[in-house]
């Protein structure tokens, strides 16, 4: 049996990756991983994509994972290679993204000697990984790599690190396959408790103002979960909102869709959250961007919470019916019970609830003042959406106002089409994430909706896109400010714009050309459509400098420390309203 033959540690790494079905690894070489690079050279199953900075590799792996439902894989050398990955690991940890990072380490006999490029990788990455391993014996290597994939992908997904000393990469040992890998101490519960399902249906069936609040857990649970969610909404007629992380699980064109909720969510979604009597949380984690002021959060509601991670239950908000399970299994069970009982919600109450919601919708909270001379950032996203919606499109973002406008104005119809850094809020995520998405979907249109400041954090990965002919489109919503910071300074700090102006911006068109890509610029609303079409029709990577109104603010907004029904709306907010929106107590919050 082939499994019995001896291989070097480096061969084992490549064999294990191939057996895990890994098609792409995003990595960067260095002394402590050279044996692994030597193996890459001698095989063709696993394609290596050379990044420009290891942080880029981790975000590419994240984008790859989120857009495919598979595990992302990154590779870095010891010391600085490993430390450069910490941001990406933390990002994946907070957003529950499955990722395996393999790092090289100094040879075992030098560990602890302050050897060249030594760092305590497992120590540094412990708090930002779901689990990590230092492999000291080559005979454990294959098992650990397979365990790493298993742990990253199952339960609440997350990043893991396998740290491999260089001597272990050279040593010969036994290879074992992925079959039958179990981790005795780790058995996530995925099937819902029957009594909880019954109690949930009891509660929902009596609801007068029910609301679905869905999140990233639906995406994590896979395509089937989105399908079941849609079925549940269609069957029950319950209105639905989602967090930033769950966009696309339910289509934006769906009848019951209220838009995103939370700090920059829609008026209707937040008002519905505030007033609902039964809240059904499906794979969301009551993040503080959602709850706002906890003592005024959905004050008259009973809450059902479906989550695979028991530590998410009752963490910030106490719930009445916890359902610890995988979303798709919980939804399947809810649907089965619903059908078995032939539940019908009280039509009169549901109807008046929806009329109320329609009133809120009529506020038209995303309204902004159009402008004929300058491109409003909202308009830029709207046009981008209109011109790409019928295509096979994936969207990533950086962090800031443009990210929120993208969430508000780009309408997602399918899951896995939207990649954004929600939990950590990592500027510089979007460009490499787009490269990762494009590697997985070479024929699709992949667009990073970027900010002028964020994009400079990982700009160098544009070079990776050029090298591998990955035709990503970087659509920079260029307001010449760290807009989100400027907005908060206006709200909280008397409009003293300390260090938030993007001075000395590069000429993005020339920059694109310097990299060997295409640069485009547009600053007139009338020319925007044609310019976007030109971007779409350019076969290679494009940097698009979309010059927008500099001082636009992102609304609606629930100021920190306020309740859902104390939102600031867009079009009519005066500068005074903005200046006094947050009281002293709210200013301490983030």
């Amino acid at each position: 049996m082939a499994d019995e033959e001896l291989m070097t540690g480096a061969e084992i790494v490549l064999r294990a990756l191939a057996d895990q079905g890994v098609a792409h690894v995003f990595g960067y070489p260095g002394g402590a991983v050279l044996p692994i690079y030597d193996e890459f050279f001698q095989q063709e199953k696993v394609k290596h994509i050379l990044v420009r900075h290891e942080q880029g590799a981790t975000h590419m792996a994240e984008g790859y994972a989120r857009s495919t439902g598979k595990c992302g894989v990154a590779l870095a050398t010891s010391g600085p290679g490993a430390t450069n990955c910490v941001t990406g690991l933390t990002d994946a940890m907070l957003d529950s993204i499955p990722m395996v990072l393999i790092t090289g380490q100094v040879p075992t006999h030098l560990i602890g000697m302050d050897a060249f490029q030594e760092c305590d990788t497992v120590g540094i990455t412990r708090p930002c990984t779901k689990q990590n391993w230092l492999v000291k014996n080559v005979n454990d290597l294959a098992r650990i790599i397979h365990e790493a994939f298993y742990v990253a992908m199952t339960g609440r997904p997350g990043p893991v690190v396998v740290d491999i000393p260089k001597d272990v990469q050279f040593a010969k040992g036994k290879y074992t396959g992925p079959e039958g890998v179990i981790v005795k101490s780790y058995q996530p519960k995925t099937a819902p408790n029957v009594t909880a399902i019954e109690a949930a249906i009891d509660l929902i069936s009596k609801a007068k103002r029910p609301l679905l609040y869905t999140g990233g857990g639906v995406i994590n649970s896979g395509l089937e979960a989105s399908k079941l969610l849609r079925e549940f909404v269609a069957l029950s007629g319950i209105p639905i909102t989602s967090t930033l992380m769950g966009l696309g699980a339910y289509p934006a064109s769906g009848k019951e869709w209220l838009g995103m909720l939370g700090m920059h969510g829609t008026y209707e979604a937040n008002m519905a959250m505030h007033d609902c009597d039964v809240m059904i949380n499906v794979g969301a984690r009551f993040d503080d961007r959602i709850t706002g002021r906890l003592d005024a959060f959905a004050p008259n509601s009973k809450k059902i919470h479906i989550d695979i991670d028991p530590s998410s239950i009752n963490k910030t908000v106490k719930v009445d019916i916890p359902i610890v399970a995988d979303v798709k299994q919980a939804l399947a069970a809810l649907l089965a019970e619903w059908k078995k009982r032939g539940v019908k919600l009280d039509a009169v109450s549901l109807d008046s609830w929806k009329r109320k919601i329609d009133q809120w919708k009529s506020v038209d909270c995303l309204k902004y003042k159009p402008n004929r001379d300058v491109i409003m950032p909202q308009y830029a996203i709207q046009r981008l959406y209109e011109l790409t919606k019928t295509r096979d499109t994936y969207i990533t973002t950086e962090v800031g106002q443009h990210q929120m406008w993208a969430a508000q104005f780009y309408r997602f119809e399918e899951p896995n089409r939207w990649m954004t850094s929600g939990g950590l809020g990592t500027m510089g995520y979007g460009l490499p994430a787009a490269v990762g998405v494009q590697a997985a979907h070479p024929k699709s249109l992949v667009i990073d909706i970027a900010g002028d400041a964020s994009v400079q954090m990982t700009m160098q990965e544009f070079s990776t896109a050029i090298q591998y002919r990955l035709p990503v489109k970087i659509f920079i919503v260029n307001n010449h400010y760290m807009g989100m910071v400027r907005q908060w300074q206006q709200l909280l700090h008397g409009n003293r714009l300390s260090e938030s102006y993007s001075d000395a911006l590069p000429d993005f068109v020339k920059l694109a050309e310097a990299y060997g890509g295409t640069g485009l610029r547009c600053s007139k609303p009338a020319e925007l459509d044609a310019a976007i079409m030109q971007m779409i029709n350019t076969p290679g990577p494009v940097l698009f400098d979309c010059e927008v109104a500099n001082l636009a603010n992102c609304f609606p907004m629930i100021p920190s420390g306020k309740a859902h029904n104390e939102m600031l709306l867009g079009a009519d907010v005066s500068d005074e309203d903005v200046g006094s929106a947050i009281d002293a107590r709210g200013k301490q919050l983030v």
Binding site: P127, V183, K184, S185, D295, L589
Partner: protein
């Protein structure tokens, strides 16, 4: 549950004062691998939980498992979070809240050094006897007492020895186990 009764752990208007602080003794069975102790301590440090006492040792060599006994304090909601956070760690097999389950034994061992001459020395010896502490080392000017018992018994012993020349204490931290036939699964 109404919104007014809820609320821990978010940046928004946490009122911890209103909730009572409880002390709980947790027993954790985990893989005996490198890094597990660091992961557990890191959890407590990183999330701002308290550790009053922590003891750990491999309990069954063949099974490669260790047992941690952790004494911690917090509101009921925080204690629940701590258990869930421990339980979701990949190398952790099981977490038991001995305090919540009711009946358990908690014991600690202390080595207590008392230096002195004359009456104080005699009084120290007498008290040691009353607490059933063993004298495990003696010189003309010092004793080392070995004492096992509940943590509060040890606290009491230490405070009594203080005026009698106590100079040094070493405590093991708490080991705990449930009474009766109940067994912690792993």
């Amino acid at each position: 549950m109404s919104a007014h009764q809820q609320g821990t752990g978010s940046a928004y208007f946490i009122d911890t004062k209103k909730q009572e602080i409880e002390t709980h003794t947790l027993a954790v069975i985990a893989e005996n691998q490198p890094g597990v102790l660091a992961r557990i301590i890191g959890l407590f440090a990183g999330r701002g939980y308290n550790i009053d006492s922590l003891t750990v040792s491999e309990t069954e060599h063949e099974k490669h498992v260790s047992r941690f006994t952790i004494v911690t304090t917090g509101t009921a909601a925080v204690i629940t979070q701590i258990k869930a956070q421990l339980d979701r760690m990949v190398p952790v097999h099981s977490v038991a809240d001995l305090t919540a389950e009711g009946n358990f034994l908690a014991r600690e061992l202390a080595l207590v050094k008392v230096n002195g001459l004359g009456d104080k020395r005699i009084e120290a010896l007498r008290l040691g006897d009353a607490f059933r502490a063993r004298v495990v080392d003696a010189s003309v000017e010092s004793f080392v007492f070995e004492l096992t018992g509940k943590p509060d018994k040890i606290d009491q012993f230490i405070s009594l020895m203080m005026p009698l020349g106590l100079v040094e204490v070493s405590r093991t931290g708490v080991a705990a186990i449930s009474r009766g036939i109940e067994v912690l699964k792993d």
